[in-house]
């Protein structure tokens, strides 16, 4: 295939590390007809971090936790941005009790799943957190300061730039949080299978509540596009959670 290096880079790193040379040779000889199957295979591997090679039970749980946090932050982010920037129905959905319950459940699920830093590596864990989150935190703080000094009364272009910076800070914060968890690796204690299952189940409930809320209000408004699209998108993310929850059942209690 022509785009072999690009396709290879799409595979999870542990998979590339294990099968790199053979995988590259296989991708080179495969024709265009193999492209959909290859992309489906890549997506399938990303959705099952529990099966990636070279994983101790601890590392497997950390990978699953990172994925759950990534999907949860994606759910929270798309819900918030739709409520704030979507149409009237999405805005109304954001003020409904169901959405509040959904966001609270997502927050609770994240707290349940949070990997606990060990006392010995506490300083190093904090250093990783600070390093990774410095940029989004600075960007977010900059937006807050800009609003307080009167960006609200600035020309529309400036206001749009400030709003864009705010959402960029939140998106970057979400990405960097996942990278910080992955980077903390040996310094943190990822949740045991029971806690992993409980946290994932709570996240499923939260995301389902957000999806139901957005779809309900969108339907009332005659299928408001942003609300419908985000509601359906959340249902797709929900499928990722369900797969993850299913994989947690393959973890033994002692892992």
């Amino acid at each position: 295939m022509r785009f072999t290096p690009v396709l290879l880079s799409l595979y999870p790193r542990p998979v590339r590390a294990r099968w790199g040379l053979d995988l590259e040779a296989e991708l080179r000889t495969a024709g265009w007809r193999a492209l959909p199957g290859t992309l489906a295979g890549i997506a399938d591997l990303w959705l099952h971090p529990a099966i990636w090679p070279d994983a101790s039970p601890r590392r497997r749980r950390l990978r699953m936790t990172t994925m759950a946090v990534a999907v949860a932050l994606a759910c929270g982010f798309v819900s918030m941005i739709t409520v704030e920037l979507g149409g009237r129905s999405a805005h109304a959905a954001g003020h409904a009790p169901l959405m509040s319950a959904g966001m609270s459940l997502i927050l609770a699920g994240l707290l349940v799943l949070a990997p606990l830093p060990g006392l010995r590596g506490l300083a190093a864990t904090c250093r990783i957190g600070v390093t990774r989150l410095a940029l989004p935190a600075t960007l977010g703080a900059g937006v807050v300061i800009a609003v307080h000094v009167g960006a609200g009364g600035a020309p529309p272009v400036v206001r749009a730039a400030v709003v864009a910076c705010w959402w960029a800070a939140l998106a970057l914060g979400a990405v960097q949080t996942c990278r910080a968890i992955a980077a903390a690796g040996s310094l943190v204690d990822p949740p045991r299978p029971r806690r992993l299952r409980a946290g994932t189940a709570i996240l499923i409930a939260g995301s389902a509540a957000n999806a139901a809320d957005l779809l309900r209000f969108s339907q009332r408004a005659g299928h408001d596009l942003p609300g419908t699209a985000t509601g359906l998108g959340l249902l797709v993310l929900l499928a990722a959670f369900v797969l993850l929850l299913r994989d947690t059942h393959h973890l033994t209690v002692h892992e």
């Binding site: 396709l7 595979y11 998979v15 294990r18 099968w19 790199g20 040379l21 053979d22 995988l23 040779a25 296989e26 991708l27 000889t29 495969a30 193999a34 199957g37 290859t38 992309l39 489906a40 295979g41 890549i42 399938d44 591997l45 529990a50 099966i51 990636w52 090679p53």
Partner: protein, 99 residues
């Protein structure tokens, strides 16, 4: 071809001895006339290793051959016996003798 079929094919060709990824697909091509797509093959290899049905040997150059574990051998035998039983029942129902 379903992922379980791909896993059975991988186990079957590894029953002959250790092979690395690309050679596994070449052996599958010799057996069935078709190579598995990269998506199916590496998904199957990753799953089989996670289930401890296959295991990597020491690296040969930049490639790592894989071999069947005892657990893998047992799983393959069970799978093949089930398939043989299904094939024999199906052929009998069709009134056709085994090939």
């Amino acid at each position: 071809m379903h992922s379980n079929d791909a896993q059975t094919l991988v186990l079957t060709v590894l029953a002959d001895g250790p092979l690395h990824g690309y050679a596994i697909n070449t052996a599958i091509e010799q057996l069935t006339g078709r190579r598995l797509g990269p998506g199916s093959l590496y998904g199957a290899l990753t799953r089989l290793e996670a289930k401890q049905l296959i295991e990597p040997l020491a690296e040969e150059g930049r490639q790592r051959p894989l071999r069947l574990t005892d657990k893998g051998r047992t799983a393959l035998e069970r799978e093949l016996r089930t398939m043989a039983h299904v094939a024999s029942v199906g052929l009998r129902s069709l009134g056709v003798g085994p090939a």
